[in-house]
């Protein structure tokens, strides 16, 4: 089965799911960052231009900081997110899912030189398209990856009805499916709800609206409501 998730199991037996971010959102985040940095530079040039040669020196220093320090500082102190990444809900993490630290962040941002190679990020783009987790060369060397940090689209609250215990013991993923159905049934048409509920006739023994109501009652039971 195809997916973009990288699954990591901790020694405690907890599986972490890192949803790798691909070339398109990353490019958009980079464009946003570029615009932010350009804006800061242009604004700073207004006072600097009054200072003559000294102002030029300060402008050079600022340019250096924006080019090299901006990403590292943002990634380490703002939870792995530059401003562009924050806007697009992306985050840099270590390959094992831990928050990115100084060393990997510095390495991945130094290697931007290689990724930007012909001057327009051609190498980085090609690498992101080829790698299964959409890492560029800097990411591969530093052992980091960029993941989606934004919350998943969620359904609504499960409607409260009197809980009914399901007649058979359900596995964890089956329970999750029932609860998911109850949460998202508000987004589906009535016909589709009934169609889905009719699939579970062996469980509910009812059809159509009765089956939908029964499944929602089961979901209430699974959620531990009285």
């Amino acid at each position: 089965m195809l997916d973009t998730v990288r699954e990591i199991e901790t020694p405690e037996g907890i599986s972490l799911r890192l949803r790798a971010a691909g070339a398109v959102p990353r490019a958009q985040a980079w464009m946003l960052d570029l615009l932010v940095r350009l804006g800061v530079f242009v604004l700073a040039m207004i006072p600097f231009s009054l200072l003559g040669v000294g102002g030029n020196g300060l402008a050079m220093l600022l340019l250096f900081a924006l080019m090299w320090a901006y990403s590292v500082v943002c990634e380490v102190w703002l939870g792995g997110q530059t401003l562009g990444k924050r806007a697009l809900g992306l985050r840099v993490v270590n390959a094992d899912g831990t928050p990115v630290t100084w060393m990997p962040s510095v390495v991945r941002n130094l290697l931007r030189v290689v990724d930007a190679l012909p001057g327009v990020y051609g190498v980085g783009l090609a690498c992101t398209l080829i790698d299964p987790h959409a890492r560029r060369l800097g990411d591969i060397v530093a052992g980091t990856m960029v993941v989606h940090a934004a919350e998943l689209p969620a359904g609504t609250q499960v409607p409260k009805v009197a809980a009914i215990a399901p007649p058979v013991v359900l596995a964890a993923d089956e329970q999750a499916a029932l609860v998911e159905f109850a949460e998202r049934s508000g987004q589906l048409t009535l016909q589709r709800q009934e169609e889905l509920a009719n699939l579970l006739m062996p469980l509910t023994g009812r059809r159509d609206s009765g089956a939908v109501a029964q499944l929602i009652a089961h979901a209430n039971w699974l959620l531990g409501r009285a």
Binding site: G22, P118, G122, Q187, T189, L190
Partner: protein, 508 residues
């Protein structure tokens, strides 16, 4: 719909994440996609450029190849759609399969919809669902609702990617030319080559652009297809459908199903036995994409068409809906543009205007003065209050020493302090003395953590009512002084100092 055959993980994703799924699908089916792509587009590339050279317009090849993109888009989509629901077809099958797909939408995309930023999303809708025109537009409005921004952004991103790859090739070549040759070759290039061999350069550009397009265009189609899949998963809960099917199969296979059914039928007395039979499960499993997407729709299947029409009547799928908004009950009459009127007596009007202006300035001055005066007064009061509060607090923080030994003659000591205007300290001393006497009287263990309330309670337990009354009076007096700042007059203090606790040996 034969969802069980799907080969991607269905789960609710944000649209941006769905784009990445598209890239993953493309990576998994790279060979099938690009073999079909080059099998069709390479001849097209040669043809277009030959045409350009023959006509004498070398740039025509570049333009034509760009213009024909919507035509080429059909190939990756064909491969990916089949790869997701079945398995990837070879390039021959892909080319042959193009005949089954409708052409109308492609003509539209090649003509008036050529500059449409939602092409990637339109493609699967038009080619895979193959609905009649009216239903298609209703369906389009549902499908695009939450993701039209992402589709447009995808188009611009892919445009940028193509540009990046195109420029990368040129810049890389330029970087590989040795530096000492660079001035000469550049001079030659601009002086001779651009004019002499412009056709060759144009063809070379066309080739590079074609290569960049070959990399990015399948990605564009795949990302659009993934967006489409994700939106349908969201609209129709495909992931739940799959999970329910698996659960249903487990229940039926367990054989417990029959028992459960019997129980359920007993409980709700519903005739459900007949509905589920093993035969029903083993209906012929559709294998072709036509069966998966039910194509063509509605021609023979009357019942399905009715059901579809019913579904479209749902407000979430377009149709009529009621909205509420506030509007003016009385529409204001359009005002004629006010033409400046000529004053009758210009001098008089000017004078009035001057007077009013002066009055306004005066008003402003008064307002400012009032404000300043208010600020001044406010500052003064605030400072005064603060100073008073601080001095009062300082007064409160006098040393009420709790652990110094009590004087031998308590009454005299208290009286001296009282007359020296150390009223609080005097009463504190009296309270301490009273507490000590009471402790001795009741033969309690000396304890530091007894509060005034505790002493009031202890007083109630005293056998001698007169002494108990005196303890209560002293504690109360101290409480009023300590917590409310209310001090007794001299006579009341004198009465407190006479007799038992202050004069240890005295009777009550």
């Amino acid at each position: 719909m034969e969802l069980e055959r799907i080969s991607v993980v269905l789960r609710p994703r944000a649209p941006r994440e769905a784009l990445d799924l598209g890239a993953a699908m493309l990576r998994a089916n790279a060979r099938a996609v690009w073999s079909a792509w080059f099998a069709f587009t390479l001849p097209a590339f040669v043809l277009c450029n030959t045409l350009g050279v023959v006509v004498g317009l070398p740039w025509l090849g570049l333009l034509l190849m760009w213009w024909l993109k919507p035509l080429f888009d059909r190939l990756p989509l064909y491969v990916l759609a089949r790869a997701v629901f079945d398995r990837a077809p070879g390039w021959r099958a892909t080319l042959r399969g193009q005949r089954q797909w409708p052409w109308g939408s492609t003509w539209a995309a090649l003509s008036w919809l050529r500059i449409d930023s939602n092409r990637s999303l339109r493609l699967p809708l038009e080619l895979l669902e193959g609905l009649p025109r009216r239903q298609r537009s209703a369906r389009w409005s549902v499908l695009r609702r939450r993701i039209v921004t992402d589709a447009s952004l995808l188009t611009y991103a892919c445009l940028q990617f193509e540009l990046v790859l195109f420029l990368s090739v040129w810049l890389l070549t330029w970087m590989l030319v040795p530096h000492e040759w660079l001035p000469d070759s550049l001079r030659d290039f601009f002086r001779v080559d651009v004019h002499a061999a412009s056709t060759a350069w144009m063809l070379l550009s066309s080739l590079v652009a074609y290569l960049a397009m070959s990399v990015i265009e399948p990605l564009y189609v795949a990302c659009g297809f993934a967006l489409y899949l994700n939106r349908r998963t969201q609209l129709e809960a495909w992931d739940i459908d799959l999970a329910f099917r698996r659960l249903r199969q487990r229940l039926l296979a367990n054989g417990k199903a029959l028992a459960v059914l019997l129980v359920c039928a007993g409980c709700w007395s519903l005739p459900v036995h007949a509905a589920i039979s093993p035969q029903a499960l083993q209906a012929a499993s559709p294998t072709s994409l036509e069966q998966v997407f039910r194509q063509p729709v509605g021609a023979a299947d009357r019942r399905f068409a009715d059901a579809a029409a019913e579904a479209y009547r749902d407000p979430r799928f377009g149709g009529e809906r009621k909205t509420r908004e506030w509007v003016f009950k009385y529409t204001p009459a359009p005002q004629a543009a006010a033409t400046p009127m000529q004053p009758l007596f210009p001098g008089f009007a000017g004078g009035v205007a001057m007077i009013l202006k002066l009055a306004l300035w005066l008003l402003l001055a008064v307002a400012v003065a009032a404000l300043l005066r208010f600020v001044w007064r406010w500052r003064g009061t605030r400072a005064g209050v603060d100073a008073a509060a601080v001095s009062r607090l300082r007064g409160l923080r006098t040393q009420v020493v709790a652990d110094a030994p009590l004087p031998a003659d308590l009454a005299a000591a208290v009286r001296v302090m009282w007359h020296a205007h150390q009223q609080r300290e005097a009463l504190a001393l009296l309270y301490r003395g009273c507490v000590e006497q009471a402790t001795r009287l009741l033969q309690l263990p000396s304890s530091l953590d007894m509060t005034e309330a505790d002493w009031l309670r202890q007083a109630a337990a005293m056998a001698d009512r007169a002494r108990a009354q005196r303890v209560v009076t002293i504690v109360r007096t101290w409480q009023f002084a300590a917590y409310a700042g209310r001090y007794p007059d001299d006579a009341a203090v004198e009465s407190l100092l006479a007799g038992w606790p202050a004069q240890a040996g005295a009777p009550a």
